[in-house]
């Protein structure tokens, strides 16, 4: 039972991202980051986007994501894989891309979970 619980915790990346987003939102209001504070709606949109991704693919474990805010009040979520990074930029619209040192590809949102899953399995 303990083993199963730990296994479940290790792959539950969605909860981790949600916790990171909540912490980011709290800290944006608690401390001046020097950047515009994303709206609550933007944070909710980020959560909903991640939730949709989880429903679209059977995910292996993902590396810990980084959440941050952009210079213009965007919420940024990124995953760093050995073969490249996936970056989501969430504001009025949502942009997603995968990039490495030399090239980038813009992703339509339905492709994001597929790419995430592929990169995670390839790592």
């Amino acid at each position: 039972m303990t083993t199963r619980t730990l296994e479940r915790l290790s792959i539950d990346w969605f909860d981790m991202v949600k916790q990171q987003l909540d912490a980011l939102r709290d800290d944006c209001h608690r401390l001046n980051s020097g950047y515009p504070v994303p709206s609550d709606a933007t944070f909710e949109k980020a959560k909903l986007t991640i939730e949709k991704f989880r429903q679209l693919a059977d995910f292996p474990a993902l590396p810990e994501s980084e959440v941050s805010i952009g210079s213009n009040g965007e919420v940024i979520i990124m995953w760093d894989f050995s073969r490249g990074c996936v970056e989501l930029t969430i504001a009025d619209t949502i942009h997603a891309r995968v990039y490495n040192d030399d090239n980038q590809e813009v992703l339509e949102l339905p492709r994001v979970p597929v790419v995430l899953s592929f990169l995670a399995k390839a790592a």
Partner: protein
């Protein structure tokens, strides 16, 4: 107010401030493209300082998040085709050569480029290039030209 182009010796060090979410304290710092976002609220370039003014720069930015300094050389940045515009004391704004330094973005467009994509702006590149593999943008290239300044202060 007019701004003059600033040409720095290729070996001169320049600095860029960055901040991180407090939860990142104690973790290795990776430089990210977002560290080179241009702020669209005030002016439309990437704000940098000559390295000799880095302590002044650190004091001017009111971020209460953990913040640090990225340091790089002027030459490789200029080799990307970017231009420095002197905006006061040792502060300068890094822009495309064609940039009109527009600070009144509600009246005039930010970018004068009419052919192709503005390589400087990730949003415009992203919108126009769905599904295509294209070279990384200016922010991604700047990541490789800077390192985290570990000098004590």
């Amino acid at each position: 107010m007019s701004f003059e182009e600033l040409v720095l010796p290729p070996s001169e060090s320049v600095v860029r401030l960055f901040a991180r979410h407090p939860s990142s304290l104690g973790k290795p710092i990776k430089i990210r493209p977002k560290d080179f976002d241009r702020g669209m609220g005030y002016m439309s370039g990437i704000s940098m300082y000559r390295a000799k003014a880095k302590e002044v720069a650190r004091g001017k930015w009111g971020s209460e998040w953990p913040k640090g300094i990225l340091i790089g050389a002027a030459g490789p940045i200029q080799e990307l085709g970017l231009v420095f515009y002197h905006t006061g004391n040792d502060h300068f704004s890094v822009r495309c050569p064609i940039c009109d330094l527009n600070r009144n973005q509600t009246v005039l467009p930010l970018c004068k480029k009419t052919v192709g994509l503005c390589d400087f702006d990730p949003a415009s590149a992203l919108t126009a290039a769905v599904g295509q593999t294209i070279p990384v943008g200016i922010r991604d290239r700047l990541v490789k030209l800077f390192s985290v300044d570990t000098a004590p202060y």
